[in-house]
C-alpha cells in the first residue's frame, strides 16, 4: 500500500507540472498568437494612462521581456527554492513553495491562497456531510420504495436541485432567511477557532444551498445503484439465508452501491476544495472560489496558476484517498 501511495504521489508531481505548463501556455501563448506582445501584456498592470517608460518598467519587473522558457523556469524554481522579489526599498524573500507574486497587488500568492483555504474547506466539508448523508439516505429510501409517492416526490425535488443554479437558489435562500425572515442575518465567515457556533450559524445557508445541488445528484445516483444491486442474485441469497432486511440493505446492498458514489464524491470534494465559485460568490465568502474570480478578472497569472495547481492537487489527493477507501469498501480490490 505504501509503495502504491508513493507511486501516486510521484505521478501527482508530474501531473501538477503538466497542469502548470498548460496554464502558463494558455496565459501567454494564446494572446501571443492573437498578436499581443509583452508590452501590451505589461500595460494591463500599470494602472491608468501609463507612460511608455512606466510600462517598460513593469515589463522588466514582471519578467515579460524574458523568453517564456525562462519565465516558466523561474516559476518552477520559485516553488522549489523560493524567490526574491523587489518590493521597493528592499528585497523580499518568498519562501518555498513560492507561487510567485501577484501582478495585481505585488504580494506573494501562496499566503493569499492559504488564507482562503479555511473558508473553502469549511464550506466544502460541511456541505459534503450534508449532501452525502441526505443524498444517499434519500436515494436508498427511494430505491426501496420505488414507484411510491415518496419516490416520485424525492426524485422530483432532486431534479429541481440538479436543474436550479446555485446563484438562484442561494439568492432565494438569502432573500428569505437572511433578509425577509432574518433567521440567519448578516452572514459573514467567522473562523471555527474564533466562535464555532457563529461559524456554523453563518454557514448553514451556504451549506444547504450547495448540498441541495449535490444531494440531488447523489440521491439519483444512489437510487440507481441500489435498484441495480438489490436485484442481484447475492441479495436474494442473503435474504434466503434469513439475514435481517436491514443487514441485507446496509451491508450487502448499500455497500456495493456505494463504490461509484465514493468515486464521484472524491472528485466532487477535490474540485470543491479548489473553490466553490458560485456559492462563494453568492454568499460573499472569501474562499478560493472568490479568489479565482478576482484572479481571472485581473488576468493575474501567478494567482491563476496558484489556484489551478492547488485545485489539481486537491483533486489528485482526493482521488488517492478514494482509491484507498475502495479497499475498505470493496474486499475484491484489497491488495
Amino acid at each position: 500500500m505504501i509503495a502504491f501511495i508513493v507511486r501516486r504521489l510521484i505521478v501527482t508531481v508530474f501531473l501538477l507540472l503538466v497542469v502548470s505548463l498548460i496554464t502558463f501556455a494558455i496565459f501567454f501563448l494564446i494572446p501571443l498568437l492573437a498578436g499581443q506582445n509583452s508590452y501590451e501584456l505589461a500595460s494591463q498592470y500599470v494602472g491608468r494612462n501609463p507612460s511608455p517608460a512606466a510600462v517598460h518598467a513593469i515589463e522588466r519587473k514582471l519578467g515579460f521581456d524574458q523568453p517564456l522558457t525562462v519565465q516558466y523556469g523561474r516559476f518552477v524554481r520559485g516553488i522549489v527554492m523560493g524567490a526574491h522579489y523587489d518590493a521597493g526599498p528592499d528585497k523580499t524573500y518568498c519562501p518555498p513553495p513560492c507561487f510567485g507574486y501577484s501582478f495585481r497587488n505585488q504580494q506573494p500568492v501562496w499566503p493569499m491562497l492559504m488564507s482562503n483555504v479555511p473558508v473553502t474547506a469549511s464550506l466544502a466539508f460541511g456541505a459534503a456531510v450534508l449532501w452525502l448523508v441526505a443524498g444517499t439516505a434519500i436515494g436508498v429510501l427511494s430505491a426501496l420504495r420505488r414507484g411510491t409517492v415518496f419516490d416520485r416526490a424525492a426524485m422530483g425535488v432532486a431534479l429541481a436541485g440538479v436543474s436550479l443554479p446555485i446563484f438562484f437558489t442561494g439568492l432565494i435562500a438569502l432573500q428569505l432567511f437572511s433578509y425577509r425572515w432574518p433567521i440567519f442575518p448578516d452572514l459573514k465567515f467567522v473562523p471555527f477557532t474564533e466562535n464555532p457556533l457563529l461559524w456554523a450559524r453563518n454557514l448553514v445557508l451556504p451549506w444547504t444551498t450547495l448540498a441541495f445541488l449535490y444531494a440531488a445528484l447523489y440521491a439519483r445516483l444512489t437510487r440507481a445503484g441500489m435498484l441495480e444491486t438489490m436485484g442481484e442474485d447475492y441479495i436474494r441469497t442473503a435474504r434466503a439465508k434469513g439475514l435481517p432486511e436491514r443487514k441485507v440493505i446496509v451491508k450487502h446492498g448499500l455497500r456495493a452501491a456505494l463504490t461509484p458514489i465514493v468515486t464521484i464524491f472524491g472528485m466532487d470534494l477535490g474540485l470543491l476544495l479548489g473553490g466553490a465559485v458560485l456559492t462563494e460568490f453568492t454568499f460573499s465568502l472569501h474562499g478560493l472560489g472568490l479568489f479565482t474570480i478576482l484572479a481571472i478578472q485581473n488576468n493575474d497569472l501567478p494567482e491563476i496558476l496558484g489556484v489551478v495547481m492547488l485545485t489539481a492537487f486537491f483533486v489528485v489527493i482526493a482521488n488517492l484517498i478514494v482509491d484507498i477507501l475502495y479497499a475498505v469498501i470493496d474486499p475484491r480490490v484489497r491488495p
Partner: protein, 586 residues
C-alpha cells in the same frame, strides 16, 4: 475612463498644457436636513457630533491599493481622507462648493511665483503621524518621489513627472542620494516648506497638490509594495488590520490634529471595510441595516433600484446624484464628410437624446440629457444648448437636413460608428443613434471593439480611425479634478492628440480652442478662468466634435443609521471623511 473604478484618464504622454485651478464654484449649502429623496445632494443629512459606533462599508470589488501613492480609484481617494492628509484637499461641504480646494496639511493654497513656475506650500506646525512623530516637508517630498516609481507603485496618476522639471527621476527606490530625496524639482528649504519647480506654468497645480500622492510618507516607514498593508496615518483614523482583498479596519488615531482639520471628523469608533461582497448583497445589506455605505459609490443595482423607487420609506433615504461622468459620442473632424462642420452639426441635430438617455438606464439610473461637455457639477459650468438637445430631445430633423444641405450632402451620407461591444449600454446607444440618424439619410454601420483595447488599438488610434472611416465613436469621460481643464483638455485640445491611446477622438485641433487653453493656463484669476472654460465648451460645441449624451447619474442609498451624510460633488458619492453613526436606539 471609468470613474466608477478610477478617476479620469487625463494625463498620458501628452504634453501638459497650462490651466488655472479653480476654487469655489457653486452656491452655499442649503440648511441641514433630516431625510427625504435627494436631501443629501445639497445639504447635510442628520448633522450630529454624536460619537461612537462602527461604520460598516461594503465593496463589491477590492481597492487598487490602500497606499496613497498607488491608487487611482475615486472611492479610494474618498476613503483615503480618513487616514491621510494631503497638502490641500476638497472642502467637506455639500453642493458644488465641495469642488473648492482648501488647505489641508498646508497653511494656505499654493503660492505661485510671478512666472508661474514655482509653487510653494508651508506646512502647519506639529502635524503628527499616528506614532506621534512630526510630519515634515521632506516626508511630503518623499511621497511625491514615490509617484515616479512606477515599477513598484504602478497605479497612481503621473502628473508630477509630467509637470515638474526632472521627468526622468527614477523614484526613491533607485535614488542614489543617501537620504533618497534626490528629486531636484522639489525642494524643502526647511522642514515646513516645500517648493515645486514646474517645467511650464500650470495654474491648476493646487488640484495636483490635492492628489493623494502628496500625503506624507516617512521614508523609514516605507515598505514599497507592502506599504499598502499599513500606511502611516495623518488623518482621524489609522489602520488596525488589513486582510488583503477581504477586509480592512480603521480605528481612531489619537495623534490626529483635529484643531487643524475642519474637513474631517472623528466620530465613529471604527470603520470596517468588507471587500469583495456580492453587489446585490450590498444593496440588501444597506436596506436591512447590515451595512452603512456602499464603498464604490456608484449606486444600487437594478433590483434594489426598483425596490427603492417604489417604496416611499426607502426612497426618502436615496439620492439621485451626478456620478461625474459624461456619456458622449465623438464626431471625428478628419473623416469625410464629417470634416465639414455642417455635417457634424447635422449629427448633433439628428441624434435622439431621449434614446441616448434610455440606453443608459433612463433619467434615474442613466442621467440627465446633456447639451454641454462640462457637466453641471464642475467648476466653470454654464448651461447652454446649441442643438436643441433639451428643447427637442428626440432630435430636430428639420435643422439636421438644413445642415446636411449646407454640407453638400442633402441626401445624407454613410459612416461608421465605434462602440465597446462588451458594454451593453454603448451597444444600445449605438443602435438607437443608428436609427435616429437614418431619419435624415445618415447611414451608420456599427463597429464593436473590445473595451480593453478600445483606446489603445482602435478608436484611440487616429490612423485606424481614418482608415476605417470611424466618423463616430461612443465613449465617456470624467475628470481627475473638477474644472474645465480636467474635463476638456484631453477631449479637445490639439496637443492632446496622440498616435495611440488618443482621447481627443474628435481630433479637434482648433487654434481658437488651443489659444483659450493657453490663456486659461496663464490666468490666475479664478472667475476669469472659469469664464474661459465655458468659452472653450461653447467653441467645442460649435465645432460639433462631441455629441453630449447624458450627464450620468446614480441612485445612492443613504443609510438611516448614519449622521453627517451628503453627496460630495467632487467624489460624486457620499463624503466619507465626516460620517458618524447614530446612537443605538435613536
Amino acid at each position: 475612463m471609468k470613474r466608477h473604478k478610477t478617476f479620469g484618464l487625463a494625463a498620458s504622454a501628452a504634453a501638459v498644457a497650462l490651466g488655472l485651478g479653480a476654487c469655489g464654484g457653486g452656491g452655499e449649502a442649503a440648511a441641514p436636513t433630516t431625510a427625504g429623496y435627494n436631501a443629501g445632494i445639497d445639504a447635510v443629512v442628520r448633522p450630529s457630533d454624536a460619537t461612537g459606533g462602527t461604520i460598516v462599508f461594503n465593496n463589491s470589488s477590492v481597492p487598487d491599493s490602500t497606499d496613497p501613492g498607488n491608487t487611482y480609484y475615486a472611492n479610494m481617494w474618498n476613503v483615503l481622507r480618513l487616514y491621510g492628509r494631503s497638502l490641500v484637499t476638497y472642502k467637506s461641504v455639500p453642493g458644488n462648493a465641495g469642488n473648492q480646494i482648501v488647505p489641508d496639511l498646508a497653511t494656505s493654497l499654493g503660492q505661485v511665483s510671478n512666472n508661474g513656475l514655482t509653487w510653494t506650500y508651508h506646512l502647519k506646525p506639529n502635524i503628527k503621524y499616528e506614532d506621534g512623530s512630526t510630519v515634515t516637508s521632506q516626508d511630503v517630498k518623499y511621497a511625491v518621489e514615490r509617484s515616479y516609481a512606477k515599477d513598484v507603485l504602478p497605479n497612481g496618476p503621473g502628473y508630477f513627472s509630467l509637470l515638474l522639471t526632472d521627468p526622468k527621476y527614477p523614484g526613491p527606490y533607485k535614488d542614489k542620494a543617501p537620504d533618497k530625496l534626490g528629486l531636484k524639482s522639489v525642494t524643502t528649504p526647511n522642514s515646513t516648506t516645500i517648493v515645486f519647480h514646474l517645467a511650464r506654468p500650470f495654474s491648476d497645480f493646487d488640484y495636483v497638490a490635492a492628489l493623494p500622492q502628496t500625503i506624507p510618507v516617512p521614508p523609514d516607514k516605507d515598505r514599497g509594495a507592502n506599504y499598502q498593508l499599513h500606511p502611516m496615518s495623518t488623518g482621524p483614523y489609522k489602520f488596525q488590520s488589513y486582510q488583503l482583498d477581504k477586509q480592512f479596519t480603521l480605528v481612531k488615531n489619537p495623534n490626529w490634529s483635529a484643531a487643524t482639520d475642519p474637513n474631517r471628523k472623528q466620530l465613529a469608533n471604527k470603520f470596517v471595510f468588507n471587500l469583495n461582497v456580492n453587489a446585490d448583497t450590498i444593496d440588501n445589506n444597506l436596506i436591512h441595516n447590515f451595512a452603512d455605505v456602499d464603498m464604490a459609490g456608484t449606486g444600487v443595482q437594478a433590483a434594489a433600484r426598483a425596490d427603492i423607487l417604489s417604496s416611499p420609506s426607502l426612497k426618502k433615504n436615496a439620492d439621485n446624484a451626478f456620478s461625474g461622468f459624461l456619456w458622449l459620442t465623438y464626431i471625428n473632424s478628419k473623416v469625410k464628410p464629417l470634416d465639414n462642420v455642417h455635417c457634424r452639426r447635422a449629427v448633433e441635430y439628428a441624434a435622439d437624446k431621449v434614446a441616448y438617455q434610455t440606453a443608459y438606464g433612463g433619467p434615474v439610473a442613466g442621467g440627465a440629457i446633456a447639451s454641454t461637455v462640462l457637466t453641471p457639477n464642475l467648476v466653470g459650468f454654464q448651461k447652454f444648448d446649441l442643438y436643441s438637445a433639451t428643447t427637442k430631445p428626440h432630435g430636430d430633423v428639420t435643422k439636421a437636413k438644413q445642415e446636411l444641405t449646407v454640407c453638400g450632402q442633402s441626401n445624407g451620407f454613410s459612416t461608421n460608428m465605434a462602440f465597446r461591444s462588451d458594454r451593453p449600454k454603448e451597444k444600445a446607444t449605438a443602435t438607437a443613434q443608428q436609427q435616429a440618424l437614418s431619419r435624415v439619410g445618415i447611414k451608420v454601420t456599427l463597429q464593436g471593439y473590445p473595451s480593453g483595447k478600445y483606446y489603445t488599438n482602435f478608436a484611440g488610434v487616429p490612423n485606424y480611425v481614418h482608415q476605417h472611416d470611424l466618423g463616430l465613436a461612443i465613449g465617456g469621460w470624467a475628470p481627475d479634478w473638477p474644472d474645465g481643464y480636467g474635463m476638456l483638455y484631453y477631449l479637445t485640445a490639439g496637443p492632446a492628440i496622440q498616435a495611440a491611446g488618443n482621447t481627443n477622438i474628435g481630433e479637434l485641433d482648433s487654434p481658437v480652442v488651443n489659444n483659450l487653453f493657453t490663456k486659461a493656463m496663464a490666468t490666475t484669476d479664478i472667475s476669469a478662468r472659469n469664464q474661459i472654460w465655458s468659452q472653450i465648451d461653447r467653441e467645442v460645441m460649435s465645432q460639433a466634435v462631441i455629441l453630449p449624451g447624458v450627464y450620468a447619474k446614480s441612485l445612492l442609498y443613504r443609510s438611516p443609521r448614519l449622521t453627517n451624510v451628503f453627496v460630495h460633488s467632487y467624489y460624486a458619492m457620499y463624503n466619507y471623511s465626516i460620517l458618524g453613526k447614530k446612537a443605538t436606539g435613536s
